[in-house]
């Protein structure tokens, strides 16, 4: 499990077009992620 103080190396998700995207591509910016659901 990734906890505070540790680096995110990779997290593969998909965008709304169904294309794969690795959240690690946001390296270089501060990043805030809000996890939610449409249900």
């Amino acid at each position: 499990m990734l906890d505070t103080g540790h680096k995110l190396e990779k997290l593969e998700l998909i965008d709304i077009n169904g294309q794969s995207f690795d959240i690690a591509n946001y390296k270089g910016k501060k990043l805030a992620i809000y996890f939610w659901a449409s249900w």
């Binding site: 499990m1 990734l2 906890d3 505070t4 103080g5 540790h6 680096k7 995110l8 190396e9 997290l11 593969e12 998700l13 998909i14 965008d15 709304i16 077009n17 169904g18 995207f21 959240i23 690690a24 946001y26 390296k27 270089g28 910016k29 501060k30 990043l31 805030a32 992620i33 809000y34 996890f35 939610w36 659901a37 449409s38 249900w39």
Partner: protein, 186 residues
């Protein structure tokens, strides 16, 4: 969601990225109508196999994670974060303005709760079932709820796939969900 949206503009001015991740096994088809209805313009990604739940240790949503420029995780709040609550919104705004996480750290996170490692592979099988139409995605989700009854990410998605009218026909029927929980129904 609208609360998060309003913070994104402020964050962009500070070169900070605010993104959404929707946990939805059924993919973009279920997420896009919600984004359209609420006019959500922030970059949104979809987790179709609960990789993020496994990686960060959560079985519920909503959650908020904050990373530094080198992707070091600086803040994790599991559940108990409500961006519509003024106090929480102000804390996020304060972080955007100053980089200070102190007021966010005053929000009580639920403890981390890691789903079973194999759950990601099971959900990937489910993604294939949905794609090919071959197999029983409902039974797959039912089995996951049986194996991990405290996992509300699995439970709610099981409810949603079996009762789409309670989730995808306008307002989500939260009374119906509450009764299911009170009656201890799957």
């Amino acid at each position: 969601m609208p609360g998060w949206q309003s913070l994104a503009q402020k964050a962009a001015e500070k070169n900070i990225e605010l993104i959404n991740v929707s946990l939805d096994f059924q993919g973009p088809e279920k997420v896009i109508p919600y984004l359209d209805e609420y006019g959500v313009k922030i970059k949104t990604f979809i987790d179709v196999d609960n990789s993020s739940g496994l990686l960060f240790g959560f079985k519920v949503v909503p959650n908020l994670l904050i990373f530094d420029e080198d992707l070091t995780l600086k803040f994790k709040c599991i559940a108990n974060i409500n961006i519509l609550k003024n106090e929480h919104k102000l804390s996020v705004e304060n972080w955007i303005d100053t980089g200070d996480l102190e007021s966010l750290n005053n929000i009580n996170s639920k403890p981390a709760n890691i789903p079973a490692i194999e759950s990601v592979n099971v959900l990937r099988e489910g993604n294939k079932i949905l794609e090919t139409g071959q197999g029983d995605a409902k039974q797959l989700l039912k089995n996951m709820v049986t194996d991990d009854p405290e996992n509300f990410i699995f439970r709610k998605q099981y409810w949603a796939i079996n009762n789409p009218e309670k989730f995808y026909s306008g307002k989500i029927d939260t009374d119906w969900q509450r009764k299911k929980l009170e009656n201890n129904e799957d």
